[in-house]
């Protein structure tokens, strides 16, 4: 009984860590530009595809991940520069469609470059399951959770300790004021896209050995990341991380104890229930409209 619960928790935490990274990506971009970037899932896909195909052609794994990460960052900056920045004053729904257009475009390019089939990436340290209190776990799960934890801590330090990080935070609080004190707001937006892309790509690379990589892998991961970000409160970094873990664990428990077919619905039921009582998510700011 306990072993079963533990098994579901482990599965949930693994996928939840990826949701958390994606949700963090959404939040970082939202903070800097008030855009919901629906192409966030494609950054994950780029990371997963690049690392799988590059290692298959003989590139050492760390280098492959680095290249994938760099590629995703470049793509992120391009999306920010040529699509999002030009449409700064467009309405929310227009911006949503622009980023969805970007995601379709990126999937199309990925299909052309890497093909439509599933790619396999070998697990980083073997596939011998680790037995743990009756549950068993892939070594790769440890990689996923560990990498996510390191990245999240690094992001926290980046925002609180470095000048660039503080500039991004300042921009999110008050764009105009940030501009007035000499922060290059445009560069902040570009930096936020690059940063989110990097998070997504690394997440994609570490999760690829578990899920396989394919050009559509980013769609659901991206949506779940969005759910995580909204659950935690848009723009609230630690909230997005918590949101991701909650969604991941709830999904795994739902699949185990309720119905595996309704697994994907769990995240959305939770988000609806939470928004019903907390319209700004679990940790979001409660603002009063100023008139």
């Amino acid at each position: 009984m306990f072993a079963e619960l533990l098994q579901y928790m482990l599965s949930g935490l693994t996928i939840g860590a990826i949701y958390a990274l994606a949700g963090l990506g959404f939040s970082i971009i939202y903070n800097a530009s008030h855009v919901i970037n629906f192409a966030q899932g494609e950054f994950i896909m780029i990371g997963g595809m690049a690392s799988a195909t590059l290692t298959a052609s003989g590139v050492p794994l760390p280098l492959a991940i680095l290249i994938g990460c760099g590629g995703a960052m470049l793509v992120g900056v391009l999306v920010a520069k040529f699509a999002v920045e030009r449409a700064r004053n467009a309405s929310t729904v227009t911006l949503i469609i622009i980023t969805i257009g970007a995601s379709i475009f990126l999937r199309g390019v990925a299909e052309l470059v890497w093909g439509k089939d599933f790619k396999r990436l070998d697990a980083f340290s073997g596939e011998t399951p680790i037995q743990f209190l009756g549950a068993s776990m892939q070594p790769q799960s440890l990689w996923v959770v560990g990498t996510a934890a390191v990245l999240i801590v690094a992001i926290g330090l980046f925002f609180n300790r470095t000048l660039t990080g503080k500039a991004i935070l300042a921009t999110s609080h008050n764009r105009l004021a940030a501009q007035l004190v000499g922060i290059d707001v445009k560069r902040v937006v570009l930096a936020s896209f690059a940063l989110s892309a990097a998070l997504g790509a690394i997440g994609g690379a570490v999760v690829a050995p578990i899920t396989f990589s394919y050009t559509e892998m980013g769609i659901m991961l991206g949506l779940k990341g969005f759910t995580a970000a909204v659950l935690g409160g848009l723009g609230h970094g630690p909230g997005a991380v918590a949101g991701g873990l909650i969604v991941g664990v709830a999904e795994a428990l739902g699949a185990g104890y309720i119905s595996s077919a309704y697994k994907d619905a769990v995240a959305f039921v939770i988000i609806l229930a939470v928004l019903l009582f907390m319209p700004n998510g679990l940790f979001g700011k409660r603002g009063t409209e100023r008139v």
Partner: protein, 274 residues
């Protein structure tokens, strides 16, 4: 409400010849806090029907918060608001509008996705058939009343001096004209009580004087007006009574002359401690 008269009443005849009407609005021990900070604290005052009643005070005194509390945009943390004898504390703005209360905004709240005329026609909302089926199937009665509303809105725009903007998109109008458009829209709902939040802010001297005239003409038709304004010349010129606030609390109340002479008011405006 009658159509706005074009006759002018000078302030002098107004202040001397009038009698004080019954109370239309009573604010009792009203308070509101934001995250532990008191924006309005234990505030009580009464507005008499037919008056032009001004609220003054330095920036941050809580004037706009008070407006938002009275008109239902914010809910009070304590105390109550009586309108026409009924307790309306925390009542939704659209219900208050149905009872005869409307307002304008310090930061313009124009429907920029419509023409100027349509903006004013929205003000006729309460007097039109706004049900779904008649609208979908274009009942003749609805069309006829809508046409009347259009004429009425055009007349109101003329009354506030916006004739030439009748067909304009609201988004293409200058700031001064939009200020009046808000007044016309509010008037279209035929309020008994009209709250004007800094109607002259950002206007030049000529425009200010014109707004001044508009307010007086509206008041002359029997509409009670509560005014928040920084232009002291205007406030002193047209108000019957003035309530002065500082840091969310009552500082002084009385006729323009009384308030102008109040030492606390002068101190607050000069920034010294009272």
């Amino acid at each position: 409400m009658k159509m706005l008269a074009t006759t002018d009443l000078s302030p002098d005849t107004m202040s001397q010849a009038r009698r004080v009407g019954p109370p239309i609005l009573k604010v009792e021990h009203l308070s509101r806090e934001f995250g532990g900070v008191l924006a309005i604290g234990d505030l009580s005052f009464t507005v008499a029907a037919g008056d032009i009643h001004s609220i003054i005070g330095p920036n941050g005194a809580g004037k706009t918060t008070l407006f938002n509390l009275v008109t239902g945009v914010y809910k009070p943390s304590g105390g109550r608001v009586l309108f026409d004898g009924a307790d309306v504390s925390g009542m939704a703005p659209y219900r208050l509008a149905a009872r005869g209360m409307s307002r304008t905004f310090q930061n313009l709240q124009i429907f920029f996705n419509m023409t100027a005329l349509e903006n004013v026609m929205v003000g006729r909302h309460l007097h039109l058939n706004t049900r779904l089926l008649p609208a979908l199937f274009r009942f003749p009665s609805l069309v006829r009343k809508d046409r009347e509303a259009k004429d009425r809105a055009a007349q109101l725009m003329a009354d506030v001096g916006l004739e030439k903007y009748i067909d304009a998109d609201a988004a293409s109008m200058p700031y001064g004209a939009l200020k009046r458009l808000e007044i016309a829209r509010a008037l279209a709902s035929e309020p008994k009580l009209l709250l004007l939040d800094e109607p002259a802010a950002g206007l030049n001297a000529t425009e200010s004087r014109e707004i001044d005239e508009v307010i007086k003409t509206v008041a002359a038709t029997g509409v009670t007006i509560i005014l928040v304004e920084h232009d002291m010349k205007m406030v002193m010129g047209i108000s019957h009574r003035i309530t002065a606030l500082n840091q969310g609390r009552m500082l002084a109340e009385g006729t323009p002359q009384e308030v102008a002479a109040n030492a606390d008011v002068i101190a607050a405006y000069l920034g010294a401690a009272p």
